[in-house]
């Protein structure tokens, strides 16, 4: 028999010793192969990780500055419907701090020689005897600065860098004070911190009376660091932010709001006008805040003068590699600077701008500036991306990003939103980051979902993910960790701040919109944004605006959610039903016992769903009951009590109950416990899909 021969031959050739030896060798090779693939994966992850990330470990919070009153002005009794449209929009900011600056870039040493004038008006109610300057480039001067010695590394973007950056004040004089050298009376370091030079007090020889103006003449030199925290250089790419001596903001009660440069914290300054002349090598392309009013080439240098009014900062970039696209969108001259090969990202950026500029203008008041510059940094300088300055924003991402996700339009819309939430309404980003990053994340969420629908975060074949679902998950995961409404530096790391300030604020606002009506929330936010344009409101002003439109219940929930770690989780504990009993028994009837067999019940079945509210946010919800015959009934519950029993009467047994069936309470910590049903169903779709995936993988991974 042929098969016997084959088997014999096989047995002959396979001695027992060889059989075991080959088996053992095979298994050893398998273990070795597993190690090799792991090593290859690790190598790939290292080689692809061009962006260093801050350490993931949690750290104790930095000492928090005393929690000062955010704004001495009480909110008005009513903003009123006048601010539902742009008719009452303020045209200009009060000019408090204006700058006329000249900056010359040495592209080889990455050093900027600066000089200019600062006109500052004391708009407080009291005379002042000192000025406070923010010299934020000094945050990168050495490893001992408040910023770089913080345990979470270099903050939200970039590692500590290999090249230090700093700013040296060469000269500071006040014309009205006899041009005396003010540097003699300047502190050498930040208050209470001899190792930090980012927050400097300058004592004046004389008082500056309330309402008086001071003209300061200043000269300085800025050494840019290797890109860190969205400023600096890499190769011949320069992004120049926080580069000049900048006055802190004086509150109306005469208190200076000044602070060192800290991880996670952003900025706070007064409005004014900027007139800045930039001088760079001729081969560079410049992008800068404001409008170009002069441009010439002289002795191999490009000299470009920029002017912008009603802003509180100025940033610029210079790189020979930029491609440029100009377009007028909603009456604004938009300039997009991007690296070669980023055409697809450019298309996505423009698409986002064409939608979002009019969208934000409609909701939060028209964009008042003539220009907007959008900078997409090259991939190797990605750490300068994702940042906002007045009339200039940076996006970011690899050349292929727009082929497979919404990262580029997402960042573009987010940073554009900051033109309103930071730019036009100048909140204190240091003390109340939720007022800019949080509200802006909500604005971004609304804009992205309006433009891109269910695929506002990920858009792949068979898989679309929207932004709100990811934001609500992050908000729920970290929601109880800490208070949302607290200073940026009080968060232990950027992950915590991102989840609470960005995601949770956006989810709180999204919940208010879904529960009390999106149009109402947008109206409230619109009033707040228009009324406080070019002003510096605090949380009280924002909550008052919400109360004005949405009422007390909504504003109480908002306050609890922002300042008291308010949380909520709706749960259906049980759902059951049974045949309705006839009302039989002995009944008293005029002093006599009457025995009744009972009338036929009106409904065949009686049941109930037991719904609980965990947490202290009392939001109204609906409860959906569905009977086995498909009959549906929706019941409203105000959510004020800890629990409610929803009664059911119908002609068939109760099948299941769902609380908040439309998912209005985005803050719900566990949306998957919002339903209960009598009979269990199998996860057949999941099993089918996963089994198939495993079969395919086994086909590849197995022999």
């Amino acid at each position: 028999m042929q098969h016997d021969t084959a088997l014999d031959r096989a047995r002959q050739r396979t001695t027992r010793k060889a059989w075991w030896l080959e088996l053992a060798l095979g298994l050893a090779c398998l273990v070795l192969a597993a190690g090799l693939f792991r090593a290859a994966g690790a190598q790939l992850s290292v080689s692809s990780e061009r962006t260093p990330t801050p350490p993931g470990q949690d750290a104790p919070p930095l000492p928090v500055e005393p929690n000062r009153t955010p704004h001495p002005d009480a909110p008005p009794r009513e903003i009123g419907p006048k601010f539902d449209s742009d008719n009452a929009l303020p045209q200009h900011a009060d000019e408090v701090a204006s700058y006329w600056l000249k900056a010359k870039l040495d592209a080889d040493t990455h050093r900027i020689s600066g000089s200019g004038r600062i006109k500052w008006t004391n708009t407080s109610d009291v005379a002042v005897r000192q000025l406070w300057f923010h010299l934020y480039l000094n945050a990168f001067k050495n490893a001992d600065t408040v910023f770089l010695r913080s345990p979470f590394g270099a903050g939200r973007s970039g590692d500590k860098g290999e090249r230090w950056g700093y700013i040296d004040l060469k000269s500071l004089k006040a014309v009205e004070l006899g041009s005396a050298d003010l540097l003699k009376n300047a502190a050498k370091h930040s208050p209470d911190d001899p190792k930090d030079e980012t927050d400097i007090r300058v004592d004046l020889p004389e008082e500056v009376a309330a309402g008086s103006t001071l003209t300061l003449e200043v000269e300085w030199e800025s050494q840019l660091p290797q890109i860190i925290e969205r400023t600096g250089y890499l190769s011949d790419y320069h992004f120049v932010g926080q580069w000049f001596p900048k006055l802190a903001r004086l509150e109306r009660d005469g208190t200076w709001r000044h602070f060192t440069f800290q991880a996670q914290s952003e900025f706070y300054a007064d409005y004014g006008n900027y007139d800045v002349t930039l001088d760079v090598p001729e081969r560079f392309v410049i992008g800068a805040s404001g409008e170009t009013i002069e441009r010439r080439v002289e002795a191999g240098r490009l000299i470009q003068r920029q002017r912008v009014t009603d802003v509180h900062d100025f940033a610029w970039t210079a790189w020979p590699g930029f491609q440029q696209h100009d377009e007028v969108i909603d009456g604004v001259a938009v300039k997009v600077l991007y690296p070669p090969a980023h055409e697809r990202n450019l298309a996505d950026t423009l698409d986002a701008l064409r939608f979002a500029l009019p969208h934000f203008g409609k909701h939060y008041g028209r964009y008042p500036y003539k220009t907007l510059t959008v900078v997409h940094p090259p991939a190797y300088a990605v750490n300068s991306g994702g940042m906002e300055y007045p009339t200039l924003i940076t996006t970011g991402g690899s050349w292929h990003n727009s082929y497979w996700n919404r990262g580029v339009p997402g960042v573009t819309i987010h940073e554009l939103g900051h033109q309103w939430f930071y730019g036009l309404v100048g909140t204190d980003e240091h003390n109340w980051p939720f007022l800019d990053e949080g509200l802006n994340s909500y604005a971004e969420l609304v804009a992205m979902e309006e433009r891109y629908g269910a695929s506002s975060l990920v858009s792949l074949p068979s898989l679309s993910i929207n932004r709100s679902s990811v934001m609500r998950a992050a908000a729920a995961t970290y929601g109880e960790d800490d208070i949302v409404g607290r200073p940026a530096a009080a968060f232990p790391n950027f992950r915590a701040m991102g989840a609470l300030v960005y995601a949770r604020t956006a989810t709180i606002m999204d919940t208010l919109a879904r529960v009390y009506g999106r149009a109402n929330v947008e109206r409230a936010l619109g009033r707040y944004m228009r009324y406080y344009r070019f002003k510096h409101p605090g949380p009280r002003h924002f909550i008052a605006a919400i109360r004005e439109v949405l009422g007390d219940e909504a504003s109480q929930n908002l306050e609890r959610a922002l300042f008291e770690r308010g949380r909520v989780d709706y749960v259906i504990r049980s759902v059951d039903s049974e045949k309705t009993q006839k009302a039989a028994g002995v009944f008293d009837d005029g002093g006599r016992h009457t025995v009744s067999a009972g009338d036929p019940p009106e409904h065949d079945y009686t049941g109930r769903a037991l719904v609980y509210r965990h947490g202290d946010l009392k939001l109204p919800v609906q409860v959906l009951l569905v009977a086995e015959d498909g009959t549906r009934s929706v019941h409203d519950w105000d959510g004020r009590s800890a629990w409610v029993e929803i009664q059911y009467h119908g002609s068939s047994p109760l099948a299941y109950a769902v609380v908040d069936p439309e998912g209005r309470v985005a803050l719900d910590e566990d949306p998957l416990n919002n339903a209960a049903r009598n009979a269990s169903t199998p996860a057949s779709r999941t099993r089918e899909r996963l089994t198939y995936a495993a079969q395919l993988a086994l086909g590849l991974g197995a022999p």
Partner: protein, 283 residues
């Protein structure tokens, strides 16, 4: 000598491999399915259909609320996968032995052949995996090392395209390695050769008909990719994010057809591989 028709005359062995893979897939999926079952998702009217809905609300909520269970389920599934991949060699050896045998073959005899050849087939698979691992490490090192020199010279897209191009030699080597491994397996069942003899026979078979072997190996691969993509497109139309048990059943049937199709494509290649090594003498 084995002919192509002979290879397709082993539907029983093919069915065994398919059944083993179906069971393995079911087992690998089981821990994650159990985690989904325990998540509360199935209490909703639409059941787990919501996991597949646009926007991913339920999918993200599942990860948010059940991540711990899902992570341990994933570990269990990974373990089950490794085990299934290793045990999968047994039916595979059975199938290959059956393919390499002409004439009638009883179950007992086929099992005996499979067990006798199993260690050699395992060693071949494992060695191939080791060499693939080395190739993967080298490819990853090359990918990483090229970034800095390239980024200063060309634009970002070109950097990535050049880096992708640098992976082509590794891909070619991997294809060659996979092909030799398959030919080695064929030699084991065709000639009952020892391990090293099988490698030598495989090498000679490849050398004798380089282009034929390459096209015979590549063509089932490309058809396989097309089959998977086609299956995905059709299943997408079935819309399993909507309720209705028939949708799940139809999706399951289509997916299983894809799996059977892939096995048949594999069989077609092995037929040619067996023919190729059959023409080579054993030393």
């Amino acid at each position: 000598m084995i002919s192509a028709e002979d290879a397709y005359r082993r539907p029983g062995a093919l069915a065994l491999v398919y059944a083993a893979r179906l069971c393995a897939g079911w087992l690998v999926a089981a821990p994650i399915v159990a985690a989904v079952n325990g998540s509360g998702l199935l209490s909703f009217p639409q059941g787990d259909a919501t996991l597949f809905m646009a926007g991913g609300d339920s999918l993200v909520a599942l990860f948010q609320t059940s991540s711990r269970f899902l992570v341990s389920a994933l570990r269990e599934s990974s373990f089950a996968f490794c085990l299934a991949a290793a045990l999968g060699l047994v039916p595979y050896a059975f199938w290959l032995s059956a393919l390499g045998h002409s004439g009638r073959l009883g179950l007992g005899e086929a099992a005996g052949l499979a067990i006798a050849r199993l260690p050699r087939l395992l060693l071949l698979s494992a060695l191939s995996l080791v060499l693939s691992g080395i190739l993967a490490v080298l490819a990853a090192l090359t990918w990483g090392a090229l970034y800095d020199p390239l980024v200063a010279r060309v634009n970002e897209r070109s950097v990535d395209l050049w880096r992708l191009a640098s992976l082509l030699p590794f891909a070619a080597l991997w294809i060659w390695l996979s092909m030799l491994t398959d030919l080695g397996r064929a030699a084991v069942v065709q000639h009952d050769s020892r391990f090293r003899q099988s490698l030598r026979v495989a090498w000679r078979a490849f050398k004798a008909q380089k282009l034929v072997m390459l096209s015979s190996w590549l063509s089932p691969w490309l058809w396989g990719v097309a089959l998977i993509a086609g299956g995905a497109l059709i299943v997408e139309r079935i819309a399993v994010d909507q309720t209705g048990g028939w949708r799940v059943l139809l999706a399951w049937l289509l997916h299983q057809l894809v799996i059977v199709g892939l096995l048949l494509l594999r069989a077609s290649w092995y037929t040619k591989a067996l023919r190729g090594v059959g023409a080579q003498p054993v030393e």
